[in-house]
């Protein structure tokens, strides 16, 4: 608890034991870290999923644009290649969509729900804090009357103050106990909660990439010269480019 020097009504009696307070702090700290991580993970998951979809769409656009290019009308072989490419891209996209849907259902939605719990907890912690302040205030009031001379009116006031204090103390203790009980439980629940998510995340990609591999192996057999190394490709490109540059109509700078 923060140390507030001029706060009126600080009771002399130690209300909450240091160990309890430390436990509480520790548990709450862990929760706050977890909240932070959950939020960031949720954000990044969403970002990466969005980028994934956009990538897939861009790939589809590559082939769709080529297929609608009038080049295809002039060259039958080109048309065939582009059709094959487009089919592959569309299949890839639909698999990707399925993957993303699964991830959405099993990873992103749960993440969102999970991070939705934190505000409740934070609010509860705040309420506990309020209750604690009330408790302290009344406690110090009781202490003040106890210190005074035990005259009739004071006794009455003391009685009233004690009467007032009792429900507040009960309230705080209930809240404190509940939180101390609930926080570690909640913290622990993340393992069971997210276990399926991570598993689903991996499973979804296994399926996706297996299909991708099949699709693109087929496509590569169809439209690519088999088995060129990167260097060969680079050299081939360079050769073609310099052949182009050698033409008089090409400005070479």
């Amino acid at each position: 608890m923060s140390w507030i020097p001029f706060k009126i009504g600080q009771p002399k009696k130690q209300i909450v034991s240091k160990t309890v307070e430390r436990d509480f702090e520790r548990e709450y700290d862990k929760l706050q870290k977890l909240e932070d991580q959950t939020k960031k993970l949720h954000k990044d998951m969403k970002k990466s999923t969005e980028a994934d979809i956009a990538m897939s769409k861009a790939a589809v656009k590559i082939s769709a644009d080529l297929l609608s290019n009038p080049l295809c009308e002039q060259d039958q072989a080109f048309l065939e290649s582009m059709t094959a490419l487009d089919t592959a891209m569309r299949r890839m996209d639909s698999f990707n969509q399925e993957k993303v849907n699964q991830i959405q259902k099993t990873v992103i939605d749960p993440l969102k729900k999970y991070s939705g719990v934190f505000p409740s907890l934070n609010m509860a912690v705040k309420r506990r804090e309020q209750a604690l302040q009330d408790y302290k205030r009344l406690q110090s009031k009781v202490e003040k009357y106890e210190e005074k001379e035990k005259t009739g009116p004071i006794m009455v006031k003391l009685h009233q103050a004690r009467e007032e204090l009792r429900p507040v103390r009960e309230d705080f203790e209930a809240k404190n106990k509940q939180l101390l009980d609930e926080m570690p439980k909640f913290y622990h629940s993340r393992i069971d909660y997210f276990q399926p998510s991570f598993e689903a995340l991996i499973r979804a990609q296994v399926v996706y990439f297996t299909e991708m591999h099949k699709i693109f192996s087929e496509l590569t057999d169809q439209i690519d010269q088999a088995g060129l190394t990167d260097e060969q490709r680079e050299r081939e490109n360079e050769a073609k480019l310099s052949e182009l540059r050698a033409l008089s109509i090409v400005a070479d700078d």
């Binding site: 259902k105 729900k113 939705g116 719990v117 609930e182 993340r190 997210f194 990439f209 490109n237 008089s248």
Partner: protein
Amino acid sequence: MQWAAAGVISSIMEVPRRPQPASLKLPLPKPASSDRSPLGAVEKRTEKDPVKEKQRERKDGSVEEEAAQVGEAAFNPEEETIESDVSVFVEAPSEASERDEELLDTNISPVEANSKLSSHDRCSVAEEEKSPEEVEEARKRSEEEEAAAKERAAQRQLLAIEELVQTERNYLRLLQVSTVTIRSNLQKLQPPLANLDSMFLYIEEVIDVSGRLLSLLDQKQVQPGDPLFLETLCDSFLSLSSDIEAAYKEYLANYNNVTAVENDYKQKEALWTEIVRVIKTSAPEVNATSLSFFLVMPVQRIARYPLLLQTIQKHTDPAHPAYSLLEQTAHTAVALNCRINEYKRFREVADKYKKTETLTIKDKINRLNSHSIAKKTARLSQHIKHETGMAAKLVDEEFDALEGFFYVLENGILELLENVETYLHHLQRFLAAKTEEFDLDMDGEKPAVSYKEITTALRQWILPTFEKRMQTLIHKPLCALRDLLVGPRNLIRKRLDKLLDYEMIEARSTLSYEEQAVANTYRTINTLLLNELPQFNGLALQMMWSTLGTFSCLHKDLASDMEQLFQGFAQQLPHSSLESGAFWEWAECAALEGARRLETVCRNVEETLNAPIVQPLSPSSQRRLKQLTQAHGSGKIYQVTGAVVGSRDLDLNLARGELVAIISEADSRGDKRRWLVDAGGRRGYAPSSKLIRYHQPTEDPPPSPHLTLPEGGAGVRRHSYTPGSQPMTAMRLPCLQVFAGYDFTARGSHEVSLRAGDPVRVLEPHDKRGNPEWSLVEARGGQRGYVPSNYLAIMPMTPVTPSTHQPYR
């Protein structure tokens, strides 16, 4: 010092040469003079009459000596046998070639020089024939005129052949000096010369082809005197002619660049003196003062081949076995020059128009003059005539097809490039999401750890490799290809301009010089495009195609890497044995189950921890409660949340915490903000915002799904007021019982859009006025708003316990 001696002798012999040519036995100066020609050309650049100058030089020993040095290779003992007067006759062609060189020195293109030269050649031949003393002398000397003439012709032929071979050797040697010694020495200069390599571009090919020509001659092991030699020479030349053309045309086309670079060097005085010094020390035997001294040689040489060959032909008896071959060779050489010249012209036109000019508006305005405006206006009017159909357009179908294809291709390439860039951009974004960094402290758990490892490998190794390959194998070549599109595009545009110009003058019968130039430019551009556009289109299409192949291959590699990686980890997962369908069922169930548990946690927290502390009711309040409950029923009891001070007629003053019963939820004018209440006898209005429902412990819980908790909650509940606007409500998880039955689109901010099947939570089954046709709902994303009640449907069975089922309405 053999050369020096030879030089002295020749200079001595030179003096009496003209008067008594027959007595001369030493023909040395002849090859020397012709060999010296490249040097002589430089030295004599300022002289007006080369013949006179030459005679003067002859008397000058030092010049002669130098010439002899150069002509070293020409010093052949065989020549000793050559007869007397030959030198005079050789004089003519060698002089001619010297002049030729002079002409070329001023950078006239080879063919022009060629034509001038041949006329000059004829001239000198005429001169030669005119010289009467010589002819007379020859006649007097020999009775067998015919035989002598024949012999002379043979000698002249031999000398001409010798000249060709010797000059070729000399030429090659000097080229080698320039490319090897001078170049390497220049490369050592500090700071390094800019563009030095571009000066020596294509010279290697020229050297190579020249060397091959000589080695072909040497291989045959025949001497120039042999009749076979001429045949060998012609054969060699013919066999190499295409190579010669290829080598020289590039060199010549690039020669302008060479002079431009040299002029650049000349701008910087200190640098230029340094260069000249290097040249002089590298090649002391020639008096060279510039790089172009050497570099111009191929330009001169290629123009000289036809001359030399024609000279040989002139001195060859038509009956000679190789005569026809020689004739053919000479023609080939001329044609070669013509083609090279044509190529150079094409290149120049192309170079002029293919570049995109980057001019500022100011430059453009400065460029405007009456001529350019007239030209542009004429083009515009011609264009308008085309468009309006007033004038027929000159149609070249072949070109139009090529142009169309080019534009389609260009469009395709640009689109492809743009899409690839988008793809790469999204890939970058994908890489930027560092999902592996947040593991939620699940260190010990297999799936989480696996995922972390996979993603790390993915982001740090697999995807960056993939991206790099995409960049180098797809993006870079495409960018290069895009840049190459500029030249043809500019030329096509320029062709249209020139076409418009051309159409206007096409009909005229006589053309001025300028008009001819315009017509030529159009034809040149058209021919160029017709020749090269098909190649360009073909190559570009191939590149595009292979790029797509690469794209597919890269994806295949990526997928196979990824598959392996994921498969490796997937097998270690706890549920790897499940079939795909079963797995997803399990995963989704688990997610739902998790959600339900979370809901429980939330409820616990809300119910038990958010309840505010409430003081027990005072005895007077308890009495009031009892009284009001009896009079109005428990559902109407409200508590005052803050002190109310009445400001209008019939308003009540109420203290905080006081209990009241509601008689009407509106005042007499229907204002819903003021409620008519019974405060234990007193009746009056109170602001509805300060009233809150009072829940009695004995009362049934209100029909809300959150409050029907079996566990925990009920025991702790006590007298309390529930703040209506609890922040907690926003966090409650959606109730799955009510769904949108149809799509609904919001018409304003107070409504919310729904898609059929979306689960919603009903917050109020009526609108603010209590109209049940509209319901306030919370949609999946947390947005709240009104939707038509009849758009909502209740799911027949509930996933949660039946007790929490909230019947709709």
